[in-house]
């Protein structure tokens, strides 16, 4: 827990390892979620993944104001409010001591520093499941390529053992990084959120030019599935979706497009990290079906 993050390639920050992951690529997989992301999408489902460092998250409803966390915190980052304890994020070093101390599970640590060996030990536990199902390993995030060297080491180790590898990327990394990674990657889930550069900048904190350029290059050399998170009021109009489908059709060729309906999970998590997200309605079944038809009309049946 008290290990500090070193600028080395053999360790990185992981915020979750999900076993029996069945919706992140072929077969039964283990998905390794790496922390840190270059984008700041306002709807993000995993806001605790934004920063690369481990972070404490607080469920203020569960806090009973017992004060134990205050007394163990080495940097005096915690104070007791009237309803719940609070964290001064500038002071917090992410050591995790308060998480251990809390008797009410109000605190949890998003992100653990793990070595590549430690990650692989988890990954190898389910090899038989991968073998029997045609599964493997998926790197997700955050943005897995944000810890490029760490990600590369994990993927190399997977390929050394002949495991199928998948990455889920937002595409917002330099082509050099992407290129290296692709050498050890069998399948790429590639997020495209908006085709309009200005809207993309507005919603995600960065322009989409690098992303779209990378998408084209990836599609040239690796199997790619485009994923579109449907964000109410941002990109879930049929025009915005049609634009993306059109881009896929003309620039990427016959690749699969997955529309991911919005869910509200991220909002709760944002609150726990003292951030704000914009509450939105989820899309109805019929509406979703309509969007799928828009894509299907443009691309054929690959939705």
């Amino acid at each position: 827990m008290s290990r500090q993050l070193q600028p080395k390639t053999d360790q990185g920050v992981v915020f979750n390892i999900q076993r029996y992951s069945i919706h992140d690529g072929p077969g039964i997989r283990t998905t390794v979620f790496l922390k840190g992301c270059p984008l700041r999408c306002f709807w993000c489902q995993n806001p605790e993944s934004h920063r690369k460092e481990p972070q404490v998250s607080l469920n203020s409803d569960a806090c009973a104001l017992c004060g134990r966390c205050v007394s163990v915190c080495p940097t005096d980052a915690i104070s007791l409010g009237t309803k719940s304890s609070a964290i001064d994020r500038d002071k917090c070093s992410g050591c995790g001591k308060c998480v251990q101390a809390c008797p009410n599970d109000a605190r949890s640590l998003a992100g653990t520093i793990l070595t590549v060996d430690e990650v692989m030990r988890q990954v190898f536990k389910d090899v038989r499941f991968y073998e029997n199902s045609g599964g493997g390993v998926t790197l997700s995030g955050g943005e897995p390529l944000y810890q490029a060297d760490f990600a590369l080491s994990i993927l190399q180790r997977c390929k050394d053992s002949g495991l199928h590898t998948t990455i889920e990327t937002c595409g917002c990394v330099s082509w050099d990084v992407m290129k290296n990674i692709l050498e050890y990657t069998d399948l790429v889930f590639f997020d495209i959120k908006h085709l309009q550069p200005a809207r993309h900048l507005e919603g995600c904190g960065k322009s989409n030019s690098l992303i779209l350029a990378n998408a084209k290059k990836v599609a040239e050399c690796k199997p790619i599935i485009v994923r579109v998170p449907l964000i109410p009021g941002f990109n879930d109009s049929s025009e915005a979706i049609a634009e993306i489908a059109q881009f896929v059709k003309t620039e990427l060729g016959a690749v699969e497009v997955e529309l991911l309906p919005y869910n509200k999970m991220g909002e709760v998590k944002f609150e726990r990290l003292d951030k704000k997200s914009v509450a939105k309605q989820t899309q109805g079944k019929d509406y979703l079906e309509g969007l799928r038809v828009v894509v299907a009309d443009l691309l054929g049946s690959s939705v």
Binding site: Q18, R19, Y20, I28, K125, D126, R128, N132
Partner: protein, 808 residues
């Protein structure tokens, strides 16, 4: 979504099958005031049969009691669309009471306490009392208890302990029963009961009265003849009944009834000639088993195997369509789901039907080929169509099982019905081979009860006892004294303070287990002997190998040595293993909890000891693919296996360990105090035998499966693995394919069994609050499925709390 007018609004489906309609109507009757009462007619006839034949030896008297029911019981048919005749339930959802077994004392108590008011009709109360009075000192329960008393022994559990705390051999009591055998249906269909009567008579002719053995043998054979003849008469009565109904019926129904009459006039007396006859005869067997014995666990075995030849012939000769066969199977499912056993309130509350009937499909033929056939698929489809709880299905999996078949089984699972369960042929057969059963018989195994392997037509009676592994932890911590009652239920192994190392503590724990076994097993065996002479199983004995030739019932050594199942059934072994891990790590290795501190915390049910409980809960637990905790479970289960191997069974056999929980994890959980694994007093113990303690497997299903794989299941008789799945992990075909890979990987580890509950938490919580809207909701409880709303709250909570293995 259509507006709901009232609770009574029933969604109208355009296309329903016959089975769905019958079952739907039967379900509706469940809520009517006249439903769900004790059926007085059975105990009345059983009592009359006994009273009229007191002069006869027990075995013949028992045959006469059977005959009385066959000849005099009222004939009914539960629905105008039903195609099968013969009843085990005379009124809708009636409780069936085999008074010759038990009930005499607890029924009187429950009448006095008012607990029976909603179950017994007002006008029947006087007769119920009179029946109870008659059976005083005559029913199996009383005979057994009188015998215990004569030996100076307490009830069926430990000598100084309360009944049902440390151990239980339930079959001698109200809750469940003997019938674990599976009759030779194949033979019955092939030669008919008349053919069996011929065998009995040949044996009779060769059996001269010479000495005691031959006298008893003749009595037994005469009894079989009475039973077989009465069985045939019962079928004939049903044929006459159908003919009467046909006389006033019109159109299609008239033709159906005529066909039914013709069928019952022919089988089971004669060899079955077609599929309907084969299925009707099979259903009659179930009726006869009910009339003969208290048999909620008897199962028909490998139905896809013995029915298939009749189906195939009918199809080839154009006598039946696939749809018609399916319709009949659906009728059979409804019939199977109608029985309810009258048991005491305790059991009534936690098990809605107290019944486990199990049909095994798939697997291998005796010569090692894949056995899957069209009938195997039809059984899956009939279950998908009717969604009845019974019979549950067990799918045998081997390397040559067709993928299509297995995926269809997974698709049935994903409907949320709670079955099929999957069994691993390789591992199941490996353990039997230790006991010298020949390969062609091994390949023919089926499953009875929750997970008990059995050779159809061969395996005889079982003596079995449950032991409470959780209570043994309490005894080891307290020098053999049960802290709940201060009774010395265990053996003195030293105080917790005295036990200086974990090894010493573990040795003390093992001694407590051994003590419980030593105290209970001889009584269990003696009970088998007494019951076998007083209430021998007759009908099934006619269809179990060697019984006729030996002149002994399948309870008393018919069937032969290889096939006897004497069982040790440990309950709470994972709760115990986790508790041992906590003691080892936190008390002995790390000293984080003091011995006295732990004892106090447990005595206080952790009240005021939140920190200690937190430490206990956070300590490593079995089921997370972590060797430290898994090793404890591996070792404890191996030890239990050795314990069984040291128990002398009947006919020179050693007992076997069978891992399951039935509903005993609740029964034993109730009197068991707080345990070091963080479990609170009175809560259920772990369910299944290799699944994790409730909610303790936090690393996901693959981790749980890897943990279970570390246990040497190849040596166990069988184990039970219960996994709960959220429906979102099983929605698409792709998900189902992955689940199949999961099952196969589980089996590669040598594991024997896996079953799934596919239901989401929200649905269950809602069902608990609004039972009326979920009366159809089936869940897997242990080896059986039950109506969720009919379960009592602790079991409901437990099912809700079982870890949901799912994404997001």
């Amino acid at each position: 979504m259509a507006a709901k007018v009232s609770n009574k609004t029933v969604s109208v489906k355009t296309e329903t099958t016959r089975g769905q309609r019958i079952w739907g109507r039967y379900l509706e009757k469940r809520l009517s005031p006249e439903a769900g009462k004790v059926s007085i007619e059975w105990p009345r006839l059983i009592t009359a049969g006994h009273r009229e034949n007191t002069a006869l030896p027990a075995v013949l008297r028992k045959a006469k009691m059977f005959e009385k029911q066959c000849l005099d019981v009222r004939l009914t048919i539960e629905d105008d669309e039903q195609l099968l005749l013969g009843s085990v339930a005379l009124e809708p959802w009636a409780w069936r009471w085999n008074v010759n077994w038990s009930g005499r004392d607890w029924v009187m108590q429950e009448i006095a306490s008012g607990d029976l008011a909603d179950v017994v009709n007002e006008e029947d109360v006087a007769e119920v009392k009179e029946i109870c009075e008659y059976w005083k000192d005559k029913c199996a329960d009383d005979i057994y208890h009188a015998w215990l008393k004569e030996n100076g022994w307490n009830d069926f559990a430990l000598q100084q302990c309360e009944p049902g705390v440390c151990s239980a051999n339930l079959w001698a009591t109200a809750s469940t029963s003997p019938g674990m055998e599976v009759a030779d249906y194949e033979k019955m269909l092939r030669i008919g009961l008349k053919g069996v009567i011929v065998e009995v008579e040949e044996e009779l002719q060769q059996t001269d009265v010479v000495e005691e053995g031959s006298v008893r043998k003749r009595d037994f054979l005469l009894a079989l003849r009475i039973v077989l003849r009465a069985s045939i008469r019962y079928a004939e009565r049903n044929a006459e009944f159908a003919r009467e109904l046909a006389a006033t019926a019109t159109g299609k129904r008239k033709a159906e009834l005529e066909k039914m009459a013709e069928t019952c006039a022919w089988v089971p007396a004669n060899p079955a000639r077609n599929f309907q006859e084969a299925l009707q005869a099979s259903w009659f067997v179930r009726c006869f088993e009910e009339m003969d014995q208290k048999t909620p666990i008897t199962t028909p075995g490998r139905m896809d195997q013995f029915l298939y030849p009749y189906y195939k012939k009918d199809i080839e000769e154009g006598r039946i369509t696939r749809e018609e066969a399916l319709e009949l199977l659906e009728c059979y499912r409804v019939k199977m789901s109608m029985t309810r056993y009258f048991v005491n309130k305790l059991v009534r509350d936690f098990a809605s039907q107290v019944q486990v009937t199990n049909v095994t499909i798939g697997g291998q033929t005796p010569d090692g080929k894949d056995a899957t056939n069209e009938m195997s698929y039809l059984f899956l489809e009939a279950a998908m169509g009717t969604r009845t709880a019974h019979p549950t299905l067990s799918v045998r999996v081997h390397d040559g099982s067709p993928r299509e078949f297995l995926l269809k089984a997974v698709a049935l699972l994903s409907t949320g019905i709670g079955f099929p369960a999957f069994f691993n042929d390789t591992s199941m057969m490996a353990s039997w081979s230790q006991w010298g059963v020949p390969l062609h018989d091994l390949r023919n195994y089926c499953v009875t009860g929750c997970v008990m392997p059995i050779i159809p037509g061969k395996t005889g009676y079982s003596g079995w006892m449950y032991i409470n592994c959780g209570k043994a932890v309490e005894l080891a911590l307290n020098n053999g004294i049960d802290p709940r009652t201060s009774i010395k239920g265990g053996v003195a192994t030293g105080t917790f303070e005295d036990l200086k190392t974990f090894d010493q503590f573990y040795a003390a724990y093992k001694k407590q287990l051994e003590h419980i076994i030593e105290q209970t097993w001889p009584k269990t065996k003696a009970a088998v002997v007494h019951v076998a002479s007083e209430s021998p199983t007759l009908f099934d004995s006619a269809l179990i190998a060697d019984c006729i030739q030996r002149g002994k019932s399948c309870m008393a050594g018919g069937g032969g040595g290889h096939y006897f199942n004497d069982l040790l059934l440990p309950i709470g072994q994972i709760s115990a293993a986790d508790s041992l891990t906590v003691i080892k790590k936190l008390v002995y290795e790390e000293g984080k909890i003091g011995k006295q501190e732990l004892l106090k915390a447990l005595a206080a049910n952790f009240d005021g000891y939140d920190d200690i409980r937190r430490l206990c809960l956070e300590a490593p637990k079995y089921g997370n693919d972590e060797d430290y905790a898994d090793a404890m479970a591996v070792d404890l289960i191996a030890f239990l296996n050795d314990c069984a191997a040291n128990m002398e069974g009947f006919l020179g056999r050693k007992a076997r360990m069978l891992g399951l929980s039935y509903a005993m994890h609740q029964g034993f959980g109730r009197p068991t105090g707080a345990l070091p694994n963080g479990r609170l007093a009175g809560m259920t113990l772990n369910d299944g035998s290799v699944s994790a303690s409730q909610g303790m497997d936090v690393e996901g299903v693959t981790a749980l499966i890897n943990s279970a794989g570390k246990i040497d299941q190849m040596s166990d008789f069988c184990d039970l693995m219960n996994v709960k799945f959220h429906p979102s992990a099983l929605k698409t075909k792709d998900d189902q394919v992955k689940l199949l890979a999961l099952i196969k990987t589980h089996f590669q580890h040598g594991s024997k069994h896996i079953q799934f509950n596919v239901i989401d938490k929200a649905t269950l919580v809602d069902a608990k609050e609004n039972p009326l809207e979920h009366k159809n909701l089936l869940v897997r409880v242990a080896g059986y499925s039950a109506f969720f709303t009919a379960l009592d709250p602790p079991i409901q909570d437990e099912i809700i709390n079982r870890t949901e293995h799912t994404l997001s």
